[in-house]
Subunit: 252 residues, 2 copies
């Protein structure tokens, strides 16, 4: 379908709403309080206007996203297929039929970048297997922006998702992260269900060396954005309240 | 200087060129062939216009970046301080003096996101230590965009920087990555000096299991952008040429 290394094949592209057939991955703002012009390139809107078929984590929030990007978009002309954590992998291939027939498609998750700590990777994997073109677009990633703002090592880092809940596995994971910081100088990034954020910080203060540094990055791009790095011993003496706010944690 | 969790403190912000004092991290386009409007939010230009003091990896490319974002910017009014891999850590604190005096500052690296596989983390670390506000901005990251486009696990991933050059350490690193893919399901991301890209692919084909998948993501956001995932056994039977093009490698 798509050659290995497409040369400039004479497509007109830029400036028109004619969009080349590919699976476009659309990042979505992280916060309701950020301005679109501060978090998304204007070019993403042009692509959005040129695509009819979308795989979305949630139809309502995808429609809201489109309206926010461009109020003139008629969302009733779009076709939405839900792709979320309940989607059966064997159903994903069929969802890409429009793309196989030469029509561009979009992937939209609820916040941040599709396929990174969010659904979408399955659809990308199928597209790759079928030799279909995949095009990631620029937009906000709380993981990457937290790393930038932490001051920690950006030459080597790992994102671990959620920490395990079960006590034994959880402390084993903390020990593993501690080891990888010490031996490899690898920044460790993870997340927690927001209502447990405060408890997690207290737990880190209790179970890890006091000189280890913790960065807490909260409400990135939102009105309450705050990225604060301190030694764990300092966190233990500080008052904080991160309950209910989407937050990224980094250790180094 | 900055309170822990700044409430809305009545700053006017949006729409004017009055910029709050903070260390702003400006991503830079990855490719000369990408349109600014496709890779940077328009809001970044507004901030750029409101800042006078910059820490830059390279003065010439920083000036070119500014001119590309907004040809009306008078780069001769800007002050540039070089912050690169030769900067002594003890000199970084002094570079942040304008910010300590209440003036906003910017960090600009040569391509991609400051402080991620690029200089800048030292300045951020000092700012964090001094309690100065740090604000990462949205822009292209080849690492993140390669991950999005790979179809690999985005719930757990590690960026390893360059592989070691020395043969023993290099094969130990490959074995370690193989283990982390198998045991932890952790996507492994790394880079190579562009002129060695082709040799690296041949080496991976030779030394790792054939069913392991390799994604090669090249010239991201550029005219030659190509993100291709295949089993290593398939890569072994394919012709490719990635010499001289900035490329991200991912294994899963």
């Amino acid at each position: 379908m798509i050659e290995d290394r497409p040369q400039n094949n004479g497509e007109s592209g830029a400036g028109t709403d004619e969009v080349q057939a590919a699976l476009y991955l659309f990042p979505v703002p992280l916060s309701d309080s950020s301005r679109i012009a501060d978090v998304l390139p204007e070019g993403n809107a042009r692509l959005l206007r040129g695509i009819r078929h979308f795989l979305v984590e949630n139809v309502r929030s995808a429609r809201r996203f489109m309206k926010r990007v461009d109020p003139s978009i008629d969302v009733n002309l779009m076709s939405f297929t839900v792709l979320d954590e309940h989607t059966r992998p064997e159903d994903v291939a069929r969802m890409l039929e429009p793309l196989e027939n030469g029509e561009p498609m979009g992937v939209i998750s609820e916040a941040g970048c599709p396929a990174v700590a969010d659904p979408g990777a399955d659809a990308v994997a199928v597209a790759q297997r079928k030799g279909l073109k995949v095009v990631p677009l620029v937009g906000p990633s709380s993981i990457l922006m937290a790393l930038m703002g932490s001051g920690f090592n950006g030459q080597s880092f790992a994102f671990n998702g959620y920490l395990p809940i079960e006590a034994g596995k959880r402390s084993a994971k903390l020990r593993e992260m501690e080891t990888r910081i010490r031996r490899e100088g690898q920044t460790q990034i993870f997340i927690e269900t927001p209502y447990r954020n405060n408890r997690l910080i207290a737990e880190l203060v209790k179970s890890l060396p006091g000189q280890m540094r913790l960065c807490v990055a909260t409400d990135i791009t939102g009105r309450g954005e705050n990225i604060t790095t301190r030694a764990l011993s300092q966190w233990g003496k500080t008052e904080y309240d991160y309950a209910k706010v989407p937050t990224i944690f980094l250790l180094f």
